[in-house]
């Protein structure tokens, strides 16, 4: 099966800055693919290369197996939902949605009918005659979605579409978008800096950092087996130990990461469970989060690690306050070996 999208050695350079640095990957048809990373990591640049707003300086971008560097955005079977929606204020909602068919020469009655159907799909059937400025943020987002989908593109690109919405709305939209994608069966490429979003919605996630992909895997894999220190910190904020620290603690001399929920906190002189690695340190802060508390401990070697202590465990730690000396323990197998990858 030909890949829906393929990047082959793509680079995009602005003067000194390598926005995209020799990136290669494949997106399968029908996939919900997320591109995750901090701002400036190259994920949006890659998105723009797929859409056609930019052309690579090196390498090739292929859509459905064909090189598209020469193909302008309006000839690609790809549509975009922009971060700020980019709705045309001088047109009504219906006219916005009907824009795609209009510029392809479809007659007014038919394109209005299609537009109405699209608006039904996103549950905005009643808003057709209003102007974008009269709608709420969430409604505008759906209009942008409808407008992008009316052309039945093979690939839908979404550039941090939920960033401007409040938490509750965002969570609702995440569920809606996921079910929409399943229903339509088209490839979604979703750019976000929110790892929670990426993990909950995507089939596969590419983690970007400084123009390169540090790891491309399914969400579970990223979480349980991060490949580099950057991925470990960015996805789920794991605690990261350098190779030197590893050696000092008596583990294998390789950088590794441990998730906060795998770490237990013990008094300095308390006995530690068998078959664990432990590190001494002092308590910096304790944050109550309801079902669990997050304990921040500064290790003797200087790093600040966090441990997630469930409420029923917390009783055992009564009396240990900020500044007290403690030991952190985790099972030997809980440490995930990391590659000394670039951008750590």
């Amino acid at each position: 099966m030909t890949a829906a999208i393929e990047f082959r050695g793509v680079s995009r350079i602005y003067g000194e800055v390598r926005a995209v640095d020799d990136v290669s990957f494949v997106i399968e048809p029908g996939e919900f693919f997320a591109m995750l990373g901090p701002s400036g990591s190259g994920k949006t640049s890659c998105l723009r290369l797929v859409a056609g707003f930019d052309t690579p300086d090196r390498g090739q971008v292929l859509l459905d197996g064909a090189d598209v560097s020469d193909v302008p955005p309006y000839d690609r079977n790809v549509n975009t939902v922009f971060q700020d929606y980019a709705l045309f204020p001088h047109m009504t909602v219906l006219q916005n949605v009907a824009y795609g068919p209009r510029v392809r020469g479809i007659a007014q009655p038919e394109r209005e009918q299609s537009a109405r159907e699209m608006l039904e799909l996103v549950q905005l059937a009643a808003q057709g005659g209003r102007r974008p400025s009269q709608l709420s943020g969430g409604q505008r987002q759906r209009v942008a979605l409808a407008r992008a989908l009316i052309n039945h593109p093979k690939v839908l690109l979404l550039d941090e579409p939920l960033g401007a919405l409040d938490l509750k709305l965002r969570e609702e939209m995440q569920i809606e978008l996921k079910s929409l994608q399943k229903k339509l069966g088209i490839t979604f490429v979703y750019v976000t800096h929110d790892q929670g979003e990426a993990l909950s919605m995507a089939d596969r996630v590419a983690v970007f950092n400084k123009g390169r992909i540090e790891q491309l895997a399914a969400p579970r894999e990223l979480y349980l087996r991060p490949a580099t220190a950057f991925v470990a910190r960015f996805v789920g904020s794991a605690n990261v130990a350098s190779a030197a620290l590893a050696a000092k603690l008596g583990a294998e001399a390789r950088a590794f990461a441990v998730r906060a929920e795998n770490i237990t906190v013990h008094g300095e002189s308390a006995a530690t469970p068998a078959d664990t690695i432990s590190a001494p340190g002092a308590v910096v802060a304790v944050q109550f989060h309801g079902a669990a508390s997050r304990w921040q401990i500064q290790l003797d070697s200087g790093e600040v690690w966090s441990a997630l202590v469930p409420e029923d465990e917390a009783r055992r730690l009564n009396g240990i306050n900020v500044g007290a000396r403690v030991r952190l323990c985790w099972p030997r197998g809980a440490g995930v070996a990391l590659n000394e990858a670039p951008g750590a």
């Binding site: 309006y74 980019a86 510029v103 400025s133 992008a148």
Partner: protein, 269 residues
């Protein structure tokens, strides 16, 4: 001094209103004088009010000639300015290339340098090239700074457009020309019109550069300028002043209202 919160002192308030009044009195006086019955001196207060100077003015053929000439020049200069200014605005609004800064500065020069420099420069060029002053030379001079006015208006509007509208339009399947027609032009239309109206008003009222490029042609401002030194026919001059105010003020006011950011039509975020 008792603290009265963020209230202005009487000094500031008084100064502000006095200053504002100062700025309006002279023109109001002129308009008043267009109706005075006295025709020899500037007696104040005017002895009486009448409309007969308006009739007298409109009966004068030299006034009509100058008026039509000025209108024609303004029309031609505006058309040229609209075309060239808009082209330049589209080119410079969002692009970046070597020499762009230099071009931007260059486009500001006709307004930044005093009118007399433009005037004498054009004259110098005409002498060097042995070109005789004529209708065309006047239009050429006017079109040059009218171009800048149009450019400023259109470029400001283009820069306020979110950059991803063009991308969104192309993403949805519209070619460059379709994007221009359906997305850009409707947005730029007001700035385009406003620029045109400002250019028209500017050309109609122009005296400084025109004196150098006019030769024997007498535009309305030139007619007016000559009349400034004649003691007779003053009331008629006042009437012409009122006409000039009307013809130049109206387009400018309209242009101002057109270019004020209109929230409904500008934002969609």
């Amino acid at each position: 001094m008792r603290y009265r919160g963020d209230r202005p002192s009487w000094l500031i308030r008084g100064g502000a209103f006095a200053g504002l009044a100062f700025m309006h009195i002279p023109v109001l006086v002129i308009i008043l004088y267009a109706f005075t019955t006295e025709d020899r001196t500037y007696q104040f207060p005017p002895p009486g009010l009448t409309l007969r100077w308006f009739d007298a003015a409109f009966a004068r053929s030299d006034i009509w000639h100058s008026l039509t000439l000025s209108l024609a020049i303004a029309a031609c200069a505006t058309v040229i300015a609209l075309v060239l200014g808009t082209l330049a605005a589209f080119a410079l609004a969002r692009s970046s290339f070597r020499g762009k800064d230099a071009l931007t500065v260059m486009f500001v020069l006709p307004i930044a340098l005093p009118g007399i420099v433009t005037g004498i420069a054009l004259l110098a060029a005409m002498k060097l090239g042995r070109i005789e002053p004529s209708f065309l030379t006047i239009v050429a001079g006017h079109a040059t700074f009218c171009l800048v006015i149009v450019y400023n208006n259109v470029v400001a509007r283009l820069r306020r457009l979110p950059s991803n509208w063009v991308e969104a339009s192309m993403d949805l399947g519209a070619s460059g020309t379709q994007t221009l027609r359906y997305v850009l032009l409707p947005q730029v239309a007001t700035a385009f019109l406003a620029g045109g109206m400002l250019a028209f008003a500017l050309s109609f009222d122009e005296i400084i550069v025109t004196i150098f490029t006019a030769g024997n042609e007498r535009t309305l401002p030139i007619w007016f300028f000559n009349e400034l030194f004649r003691p007779r026919d003053r009331p008629i001059t006042n009437v012409v002043a009122v006409i000039v105010i009307a013809v130049t003020l109206l387009p400018i006011v309209l242009a101002y209202y057109l270019t004020r950011p209109d929230d409904e039509h500008e934002t969609a975020h």
